[in-house]
Symmetry: C6
């Protein structure tokens, strides 16, 4: 759990691009829940999304897909 985020990966860079550009994204979880918002940050365990004015901490292991909203 001391793993680092590989910032050279295309997926990490695409997510960083969405973050910098405040691109609205839709994230679907394996529970079937879908969140729409902008990315605040990502780390090796979670993705923090700003949705409806609050931070939602999405567990990476539960993410199914991310796409521009």
């Amino acid at each position: 759990m001391t793993v680092e985020l590989d910032t050279g990966l295309p997926s990490t860079r695409l997510m960083q691009g969405f973050l910098r550009e405040k691109q609205a994204v839709e994230i679907k979880l394996t529970t079937g829940d879908t969140f729409t918002g902008t990315l605040r940050w990502q780390d090796p365990l979670c993705i923090c999304l700003e949705a409806e004015g609050q931070a939602v901490l999405l567990w990476r292991t539960a993410i199914a897909y991310v796409k521009p909203a």
Copy 2:
């Protein structure tokens, strides 16, 4: 399983903040169960939530998201 919790990660620190401030949080599991309560502690395997007066040990592998309640 002797992994340690990386206390420098943004997600770990956000959770520690919720814990210190006794912020009520909503945690949804991949089963679809949602728990609302305050965090007692977190370790590499579990998150311990105080909900309805008792401790609930949530397996990290089953967590979908955490957000302020």
Copy 3:
């Protein structure tokens, strides 16, 4: 798979406490199945629960939560 159970983790110790005190616990799996019983032992792969007079071997990867029954 030669991993050892980290007996210093709060979650492992809480489970050991439930075991020693023969505390009835409710364990829900990601299948939606819920078992109520007392803990017999835990190892890195499984949790052995005594439920309705027989041993049930619960896979850790399928556990969603554990709480006092």
Copy 4:
């Protein structure tokens, strides 16, 4: 994937006991499928069950629980 099965673990030994004694077991998967049969062998990736006269290769990652049938 060159991991070995830790034959010293209580869970591995309990499973080996079921195997040796040809104890009928019920195995439920995370798909909700339940198989009843006797164990043929186990390795780090799979559990091989003899059910209705044929071998079924159960993926460990999909197992929820095992109990005497």
Copy 5:
């Protein structure tokens, strides 16, 4: 992800046997989808099944069971 397939494991060898003998197999995924076909090859990430005249790349992490069809 540079892991190798442990060809000495009983499960790997059983699968290789199905492949060599062109044994029709039924593979169920954790999505509930069931595929019937013959194995083309297996690697550490996937199992390639020939089903209805085309190759289907099944993710190992999504496999629940494999059995002779």
Copy 6:
């Protein structure tokens, strides 16, 4: 998370083949969602699919199968 994609694996090469040939593929996730499109790139964490004119970042851990569309 600094793992590299093993480009020698049959599954990685098959996916690279689909990508080069702009072969339309159908990808099903463990959520039950199915996407049809062409592959843009793959990395150790994700597969990027071009579907309906936009990029969709599919988490590898949520993929069930890939097949030609």
